[in-house]
Symmetry: C2
Subunit: 372 residues, 2 copies
Amino acid sequence: MDLDDLPTPALVLDRGVLSANIARMNERMRRLGVPLRPHLKTAKSADVARLAVAGHPGGVTVSTLHEADYFLERGFADVTYAVGITPARLDGAAALRRRGADLKIITDDIGVAGAIAAHGASFAVLIEIDTGGARGGVAPGGPELLEIARRLDGAPAVTLGGVLTHAGHSYDCRDEAAMAAVAEDERAGAVMAAERLRAAGLACPVVSVGSTPTARFARDLTGVTEARPGVYMFCDLFQAGIGVCERGDIALGVLASVIGQRRQENLLLIDAGALALSKDRSTAELAADCGFGLVCDAVTGRPHGGLKVASVHQEHGIIASDAPIPFESFPVGARVRVLPNHACMTGAAHETYNVIDGGTEVIARWPRCNRW
Amino acid sequence: MDLDDLPTPALVLDRGVLSANIARMNERMRRLGVPLRPHLKTAKSADVARLAVAGHPGGVTVSTLHEADYFLERGFADVTYAVGITPARLDGAAALRRRGADLKIITDDIGVAGAIAAHGASFAVLIEIDTGGARGGVAPGGPELLEIARRLDGAPAVTLGGVLTHAGHSYDCRDEAAMAAVAEDERAGAVMAAERLRAAGLACPVVSVGSTPTARFARDLTGVTEARPGVYMFCDLFQAGIGVCERGDIALGVLASVIGQRRQENLLLIDAGALALSKDRSTAELAADCGFGLVCDAVTGRPHGGLKVASVHQEHGIIASDAPIPFESFPVGARVRVLPNHACMTGAAHETYNVIDGGTEVIARWPRCNRW
C-alpha cells in the first residue's frame, strides 16, 4: 500500500519522526534521572506505547478507563488513570484490578476518598495536586491533602500510592525560561506535598509530574519519581509554536485530497474539514497562527510555503494563502498532508494510523483506542 | 436502562423533541410545496433518517461515500452525495450504483466532469452552484456551468441530473429578514442555473437547495424541487443563537459527571471535555456565547441558570458561572447534561445515541455511522 492508494482523509504517522521524538525525550529524562510513565491519551495505541516505554519501567498513563482496559489487554498492566475518579467508576476500576491491572486511580476530593475507602475493593490511589494549572488537584500546602490522605490510609484495602500533578499552565508559556519556571513549580509543589505526607507518617512512594513542555525544559527533577508527558511523541503546531519542538518534529498529519478550486478567491477546497482535522484553534493566539492546520506536500511532509487551512466545514477544508496559489499544481484529486494544531484532537477523529517511514509506502496500520 | 446507569460521557437524544423538530420542518415544506431530501451528515443514523423521510419521497443527502454505503445497506437507495467528487472516488461511486444505489454525485470542475465522462460507468451527476457561500460551486450565470453540463451530457453513460446549491452564508445571518434574503438568493441562483441549462437544450429535472436557516425562513421556493436541511432535526445552541430555533428545541445533549469542584475559583470539573463536546466555538460570535456548551439538568434538560462549559481539556470540561455555583448540588459523581454549540461536531464524537423520550428511561440505543 502506498500513500497514493489511501482513501482520504487519512491519518498518517511517520515512524522515523516518532522514534526520533521518543529518543530525544528519553535522553532528556536519562539526564534528569527520572523514568517516563508516558501518557497515552494522545497516541491511544499499543504499537506507539511499546516504542514509548522501551528503556523505562513499563508503566503507562491513560485518560479513560476504556484506555486502561485496552492497554491491559495488550500487556500493559501498570496503568495510572490520571483523571479524577468518580464513585460510579470504582466498580470498573476494581474489575480491572481483579483482571491483573496494577491500576492507580487519583482523587482530590474528600467525599470520593470516603467512597474509595468504603468500597471494599483493593485500590491504589494517588492524590492529585494542583501546582498551578487550576484544573484538578488540592493545594500542596493546604489542609485537604492530609485529610484525604488520612481517609485513604485508614482504609485497610486501600494503598496510598503518592501524589500526582500536571502543570497544565505550561501551555500558557511562550518561552523556555517560563516553561522551566513552571516545571520547577510543578516539581516543587509535588515534592512539597510528598514531604508533608511523609512528615505525617504516611507513605508517598510516587511523586508523579508531567506535561510535554515541562518535561522538555525542566532543569532539575529532584524528588520526582516519574514524568508523564504525552504529546512529545507526535508533536504538533501548537508545541512547535511555543518552542517545544520544531515543525520538522511533527510526526502526525492528515492526508487529504483537493476537491475544488476557487481561482478568483485564491482558495482551494480539500476533503479534510472540521471532522478530520478537529476545530482546535490553539495556534490562534501564537505568533504563527496556522489556521486549522498547515498544508504540506503529501509525500515529503514539507510545508507548501504559506498554504494553510483557513476555515473548515464538516467535510470541507478551505485552504488560503497570502501568495497566489499555483492552481495548476493542485487539480481536483491532488493530495496534500495537513499538519495538525493539536495532535490529541486530530488523532481522535481517526481509527487508524497509516504508518510511513519517510517515504510513501504505508509500512503498517496501527489501530487507535478511541472514545470511552 | 436509565440515564443514571449510563457511563459518562454519553450522547443523549430526546425522541420527542426530535419528532417535533421534524414535524415543524415538514409543515414548513408542505406549505412551500417542496419535499425534503434530508441531509444526514448531522444524524448519521438510519433510525433518525426513517423519521426524517416519512411523508417525503425517501431520498436522502450524505456527506461521505461511507454514509452512502451505510444508508444503502439500510434501505435508502436514493442518495445524493453532496460533496464535490474526486476522480479517485468514482470507482467507489460506481460500485454503489452497481449495488443498487440511485446515487447522485456532484461536481463544479471541468476536469472532474471529463473524468466522469471518461470513466465509462453509469453516473447521475448534479452540477454544484455557488449562490453566495463561496465554498463549492460554479457561478449560476457564468460560462463554466454550460461547459461542465455539455461535457457531462456528451457522455453516453452519464445522466445530467440537474443543479444543487447550499447557501452556507445563511449561517452568517443574525435575523429572520437576512435569512429570508439568503434563502431567496439560494433559490434564485439555483433556478437561474436550471433555466440556463434548459435554455441550452439540456435536462435539469433536479433543482436542489438547502440549509436549515434558509429552509426555516424561505418565503417562496418556486422552481425548487427539493430541500436538504440537516441540523433542524437536532438543533443546537448556534441555531438557537441565530434565531432558527428555541433552546428548548435542542434534542441532543451530552450526559456528563462532575469529577471535581474548585470552590475558591467557583468552578466545576466534568468528564465531558474537548473530545466529548468538540472544540466548536460557533456561539463565540453570537450575543449569547455559550462557551463549549450550556449546562442543564441531567433529567429535565433545562438549563442550570448560567452554568456553561467555559473551557475544555481533552477529558475535562470546566464549568463556570457568573453567579456562585451551588456546590452542594454538584458533588463529584453528580450528573449534568450539556447542550452542544454544534450538533454535527458533538454528535461525531460518539458512536451511539442513547434515546430518551422526555423522561430518564433509555428507550433505545441508535448507532451512528462515523468517519470515512
